[in-house]
Symmetry: C2
Amino acid sequence: MPTSAVSRLSGQARRVEPFHVMRLLARAGELEALGRSIVHMEVGEPDFPTPGPILEAGQRALADGRTRYTSAGGLPALRRAIAGYYADRYDTPVGSERILVTPGASGALQLVFLALLDPGDRVLIADPSYPCYRQVLQLMGIEPIAVPVGPDTDYQLTAARAEAAWAEGVRAIVVASPSNPTGASTAFDVLSELHALCRDRGAALVVDEIYQGLTYDVQDRTALSLGSTDLYVINSFSKYFGMTGWRLGWLAGPEDAVEVMERMAQNLFIAANTPAQHAALAAFDSATIAVLETRRLEFQRRRDRLLPALRDLGFSIPVEPTGAFYLYARLPEGLKLDSMTFTSRMLEEAGVALTPGNDFGRHDAARHVRFAYTREIEELDEGVRRIRDWLAGI
Amino acid sequence: MPTSAVSRLSGQARRVEPFHVMRLLARAGELEALGRSIVHMEVGEPDFPTPGPILEAGQRALADGRTRYTSAGGLPALRRAIAGYYADRYDTPVGSERILVTPGASGALQLVFLALLDPGDRVLIADPSYPCYRQVLQLMGIEPIAVPVGPDTDYQLTAARAEAAWAEGVRAIVVASPSNPTGASTAFDVLSELHALCRDRGAALVVDEIYQGLTYDVQDRTALSLGSTDLYVINSFSKYFGMTGWRLGWLAGPEDAVEVMERMAQNLFIAANTPAQHAALAAFDSATIAVLETRRLEFQRRRDRLLPALRDLGFSIPVEPTGAFYLYARLPEGLKLDSMTFTSRMLEEAGVALTPGNDFGRHDAARHVRFAYTREIEELDEGVRRIRDWLAGI
């Protein structure tokens, strides 16, 4: 019998949990291969293609042979364009030397975590939150402390909650706004209090703004207007700009820290993908923004359709989500199933793919599922119909 | 006075050293902006553009809108193509489920290090070697043990050297073949002995084959023919395939370990750049390989031109390098300068950019410089002329 290679892997590698949704996705694929129709409400990726002007800029870059390494911090023109976007759209001037272009928000997260934290340090994160925070932190030997959040604080991590959860060795708080999976945006005064708490305690505030731009009925802001001290903002071209597979993101931080992080990026990544960087130069063009704003309104229409429909079915969504493209819903009261069983049965028996709450943490996770509205309204309607019929039949 | 953000960064972040060559590159840029002519012999990137068939495949992918996330392990077709390349070119059958597509060899290195090593573990690496090994390991809280290598072992890390340097907590050996900066290839029996040593000690052998294909006068092999136990191979489309800025690489390892690493990749990267993956499907076409083989012969011609010219100038290159595009040369005996001073003066006074040995480790680094032959023969000749004149003048 061969030695299991897994038994030789590092402890931290063996502790990485698979996303439950990946298993469901694989099973959905099997069912579809057998001819079953599946409604996909599990996908965290916009259904819209990359906007035309960005695609065309990418094609031009390839035609011009722009395929060499860029500097680790990214094309100077792209750093300036991102800085200009903050100034123009968010009325927040940010020097381009405070911007670092990264391989996706994933690369930015890695850089920020490694720059701020040594093995053994601790970080406060919300529960529920994006699963990669805790997994990447754990891979780096850093301990995430999950702070339960729910409807009582609009699903936000507040300064009071953070203070209550504070422990020896906490060196950062990570906040996502808008948030995956809840779609909640952190109110600006709450962010400001969290920032003050961090500065008071010698910690850093990390704000993940990957869903920035995808907000509905609320002012779209950036945490960067809080200043530059002990503040790190992560962003990406993936969601609002529709560039998921291009793997391009950025971070903004204090200038001298960004200089160190650029040195780290040289070692960790060399640089982000070059054609993607040239393509992204077209992301801020008015023609592109016009396309993106039309899409934003379409997402809003979907939210406004799906939210009341799910409430009608008995799902509890007490706070109206104001961003991203997710609804985090409590299972109907009478339903005596946990979310793992519910999502499995939904897939097998109703042909609807959802993400169980367990992927996002532990706090009340067994009673929650995430709906993504990354499909057309007709498909969302069909999903609702299937869930309604299934609930009526059990 | 504002608080320095750097003082709040993690210890490991503050310990990341800048590459000396980056300072020289910046200075070379300044000099060029002033109208000075600089001969570039410092660049670790092929001067050839990405081959036409790969560029065209990339453009087709964009035209077809292939810009969504792929699965974390990469496009199944690309994993199969890489597996097929091992079978066809290296006569080494490797199942495609043992291949993981990564964001460059950088991504593969990160994954392998995190998968094999916990903070506090130790790793044997050669000195001199690619600087990112030690920097990335240190960022992860892992201790690299640098083992001096020189002409007496053909610049190879041997089992005897590794055994002598072994210490408590060593869990892996990293070998590069062909190697940056020495251009040395590790003889197959030496690799096999290192592998046996690792297996004996419960450690893993990591072989970085990023310069595979760029070998001259020696058989081009892969460590994968040693088997699959405790063996991890890293590779890239950057060097032989001419795709540096696309940031696309891969790793091969034991099947069950690769499954865990795919899970890690989901968290760390989500996936590699999608258009790049589609483009790379054309990398193994016979039309592409024909282009690449012509380039390989051109690199060989450059080596054969530069090597004797440098020896004539008094540089000592005792072992003929058989791969990559580097010559690692000891400064002429009579020259009473260290390599940092030498490379600075070369740039300022002779207009030749080189990389000081200090970027690659400590072992005799102050007496060594790295020449890259990533420019046309005429430029290499001009560089040699400038160095000769400078040496004659001091």
